[in-house]
């Protein structure tokens, strides 16, 4: 993406004004696409103990028979979550939202080596790999490498960058074996999670330190993932406190260009981290965790991009008499990114978040919270400039939500709103209402209406690219993008071997970012509107004790119009970056002699705007546990094609190759 910007910039310096204009606008689009989305700056971080979002059952179908458990190791047994311990009926997820949970088992058996790969299996998620270390990830439309409508959290810490409201996926990593689950919520969860969660929230939750005791060593290598090594050690500090530390490293070989030549994007990362969990009394839980990383990536011009950073987070949760609870979370996050010639950014973010949940009488269950975040950055200009190049953005937020049982155990209404104040547009208000109908013990239906915003970022307000004949100057009056979302869903678990859930939505967007030509400069304004609608289906079927099928299907239709008076001709075309259809199916077999076999296929339909054809891809994993402590596995990815593109325009587009890696995991 950075190379594309450099190329366009060079083209901009020559040629006539009108040629310049066309190239400039496509260049700016590329730059904007590269920087991505200006998502709400004020993303609130909601601690992972969200009271009303419990995981749906589509990924938690009950086991049929004790033979599954007797094959598990002690560690696996200790991590089985028993959702209905002393009841025999199944439970249906209680959340009035389109939520899917990717469990640790799903991550392990899919062979995913990082979080973007793990996200492919959730319904409604668009995951397109652009090159070795870049992904375009979104939900319900608007996907590009600067996708800005998805809020991503790691253990409650927001990981999108306020620079453009998107996520630098190359630095969101952890030990995959220590991820407890990834919750994917599609739809505006703005009221709880804050602005920028316009199309959804991805919440990566790592395991409690008490669940990661002992030594874990894993490593391996292959054709694309050249080598990787992970070591983690967990221990009990005392009877109420546990800790773990980890170190990991990997190197990836480059991805090819369309013509087969080297893409020159080899990538390596080192990361280390720790987590401490303490429960001094049964009602209190304290967590302290942190990570630090450093990595580099090749570029075409031979100068490496360097990234480094770290974070530290503390959270205190207290259960109270009377059924309530409260929590306080604070974190500091530091990131540095140096892309030669393009720009350098150093950023530090500090966030404090408080939340209180309290049942009030028989009719109300109230949750409210306050948050403050400050993010300071310094950008060293290159071809891309930000004016000013130092910013200290502050965000204040307040949210409140009430759950009201209109008909006890049958109909529950949740109303909530978030009020935020940010440095660009002042106050923003995001209300939402949700209704859950528990039809019976095996099925539930829900509906919701929400308003969400994506607030401006430095990309819209401060970006400056100056070229003779055509310049882009940031717009200090850029407004927030707005959406009203209407959603409806149904989920069922009629037997203990089948569960399914369906969600449908219609989103009405206004004030979307557009690129206007106001001679002599280009500027970013809010003159685009759009409508999207779609259906997402997820299901888990367990026909026998040893065979599980997990599938997802997503249909999406996206439509944009420029508002009258707009001169934007290119932004409406970016509608084509979202595939109309996606499907995923994974078949998992538990064979004899402790052998597991998983085969997964995915289909993504074409992206006509970028001339990327629809593709079908298949991954397979074979694993064997010769002894309790050791697992050996072989994973093949992208089996069907030598190489295929997922995102990007010719000619500089990278493709994803067929690859294989072998891995061992040793636990003691």
């Amino acid at each position: 993406m950075r190379r594309k910007s450099i190329g366009h910039r060079q083209k901009m310096l020559t040629g006539s004004a009108s040629r310049n204009k066309r190239r400039f606008s496509s260049g700016i689009c590329a730059a904007l696409l590269a920087f991505a989305t200006i998502e709400a700056r004020g993303q609130d971080i909601k601690p992972t103990t969200a009271p009303s979002t419990e995981p749906s059952q589509s990924s938690a179908v009950a086991a049929a028979g004790p033979t599954k458990f007797k094959k598990m190791s002690l560690d696996e047994l200790m991590n089985v979550e028993v959702t209905s311990v002393s009841r025999h009926e199944s439970t249906i997820g209680q959340s009035a939202a389109a939520i899917d949970v990717i469990s640790q088992d799903d991550i392990r058996r899919s062979g995913a080596t990082n979080i973007p790969e793990a996200l492919r299996q959730a319904p409604g998620m668009e995951v397109a790999q652009i090159d070795n270390s870049t992904w375009a990830i979104s939900a319900r439309g608007f996907n590009n490498n600067t996708a800005n409508k998805l809020l991503v959290l790691m253990d409650g810490r927001s990981v999108y960058t306020p620079l453009y409201s998107g996520v630098f996926w190359d630095v969101q990593d952890t030990m995959m074996q220590d991820i407890d689950r990834i919750e994917v919520i599609r739809g505006p969860a703005g009221a709880l999670w804050g602005a920028n969660a316009v199309n959804g929230v991805v919440n990566v939750i790592t395991k409690d330190a008490q669940d990661t005791q002992g030594l874990l060593v894993s490593g391996g290598g292959g054709t694309e993932l050249r080598n990787f090594e992970n070591v983690r050690y967990g221990w009990a500090i005392n009877s109420t406190t546990d800790a773990r530390i980890y170190v990991k490293h990997f190197e990836r070989g480059d991805t090819p260009l369309t013509n087969g030549s080297d893409g020159n994007d080899t990538w390596m990362m080192d990361q280390t981290g720790f987590r401490i969990d303490s429960r001094p009394t049964p009602d209190e839980h304290l967590t302290l965790q942190g990570d630090a990383y450093q990595g580099s990536r090749d570029n075409l011009n031979d100068a490496d991009t360097g990234v480094s950073g770290g974070n530290i987070l503390g959270r205190w949760t207290q259960k109270m008499n009377g059924g309530g609870d409260m929590s306080l979370q604070t974190y500091t996050d530091i990131t540095n990114r140096a892309i030669p010639l393009l720009y350098n950014e150093n950023r530090g973010t500090f966030d404090v978040d408080f939340q209180h949940h309290i049942p009030v009488g028989d009719w109300n269950d109230v949750t409210w919270g306050l948050g403050y975040r400050i993010s300071l950055d310094h950008v060293k200009d290159g071809i891309i400039q930000f004016v000013p190049n130092n910013r200290a953005e502050q965000l204040f937020s307040f949210f409140a939500q009430d759950e009201i049982p209109i008909v006890k155990d049958k109909l529950r209404l949740t109303v909530g709103a978030k009020l935020e104040h940010n440095d660009f547009t002042g106050f923003e208000f995001q209300p939402n209402g949700r209704l859950l109908w528990s039809i019976d013990k095996k099925q539930a239906a829900w509906t919701a209406v929400s308003r969400a915003v994506r607030t401006p970022t430095q990309l819209e307000d401060d970006l400056q690219i100056v070229a003779p004949g055509a310049s882009l100057i940031g717009n200090k009056h850029f407004q927030s993008e707005r959406v009203i979302a209407y959603e409806v869903g149904y989920r069922m678990q009629p037997t203990n071997w089948l569960s399914a859930d369906v969600a449908a939505f219609y989103n009405d967007y206004h004030h979307l970012r557009s690129l206007e030509f106001r001679p002599p400069i280009f500027s970013e304004e809010n003159q685009l509107q759009g409508q999207t609608y779609g259906v997402e289906v997820g299901s888990t079927v367990k026909p026998t004790d040893w065979w599980t099928l997990r599938g997802a299907y997503t249909f999406l239709h996206v439509r944009f119009q420029a508002e009258p008076g707009s001169t934007d001709t290119s932004s409406a075309a970016t509608a084509g970056n979202d595939p109309q259809n996606q499907a995923y199916l994974r078949s998992s077999f538990d064979l004899c002699h402790n052998v597991e076999f998983d085969c997964s296929g995915r289909w993504v339909s074409e992206l006509p705007n970028q001339q990327i054809p629809g593709y079908v891809s298949m991954d397979a994993r074979l694993a064997w546990k010769p002894i309790d402590q050791l697992e050996l596995s072989v994973v093949a990815q992208n089996l069907l094609d030598n190489q295929h593109p997922e995102f990007g325009t010719l000619p500089g587009r990278h493709e994803i190759q067929r690859s294989v890696y072998g891995m061992f995991t040793f636990r003691w």
Partner: protein
């Protein structure tokens, strides 16, 4: 939707074949284990909680050494006793089926009287006996029996292993001193995953 189906039909045949063989491929690999697979049962399955505890008991037997004197011959099986109301249903037998540990099989013995279960290697004491724990443990004093239960304070009162729930996950605590006193050797793989508790 029609377009979607047409899109699928237009995929290269390799892709279509591969997708369809996703399911069939597994059958080929699975064929040898079909013979040994559990038939679908029409009786209600024992609750998941006790299936997990039965699997834990299998692990306990694997990682605990009893003194040689508790076995009369090289092939004497492990006797797993259940005292009181049995919450396991068929889960114990299903879990122990076809399992051997150190060449010994596992057999289950049930009774409501402690006198019948004096020669067990591992004894699960049901919740129904919660008011009689001191007498039960006293009658087993000095015998190398791994007493297991799921009652508050069981390990502190002299029981060897106690199940408890933490965060919806089933965990266990071990009274290591009590185990040592009756010549039971517990392997570190089990000890390090247990909450260690001392007698009151």
């Amino acid at each position: 939707m029609i377009r979607a189906v047409r899109n699928f039909m237009n995929l290269p045949s390799l892709a279509k074949v591969s997708l369809v063989s996703l399911l069939s491929l597994g059958w080929i690999l699975v064929a040898p284990s079909i013979a040994g697979a559990q038939p679908a049962t029409t009786q209600p399955a024992p609750s998941e909680e006790y299936q997990i505890k039965a699997a834990y008991i299998l692990n306990f037997v694997q990682y605990i050494d009893w003194p040689q004197a508790t076995f009369s011959a090289a092939d004497t099986p492990f006797t797993i006793g259940v005292l009181g109301d049995d919450p396991f249903g068929p889960a114990l037998e299903q879990t122990f089926q076809d399992e051997t540990i150190a060449g010994r099989k596992l057999v289950v013995k049930r009774s409501t009287k402690i006198e019948d279960l004096q020669s067990c290697h591992l004894l699960f004491i049901s919740k129904s006996e919660k008011d009689h724990i001191p007498e039960i443990l006293a009658s087993l004093k000095d015998k190398s029996i791994v007493t297991v239960s799921e009652l508050d304070q069981f390990a502190q009162r002299g029981g060897i292993v106690n199940f408890y729930l933490n965060n919806n996950k089933i965990r266990f605590e071990i009274n290591a001193n009590a185990a040592e006193k009756i010549s039971l050797k517990i392997h570190s793989q089990l000890l390090k995953r247990a909450k260690i508790v001392n007698s009151d």
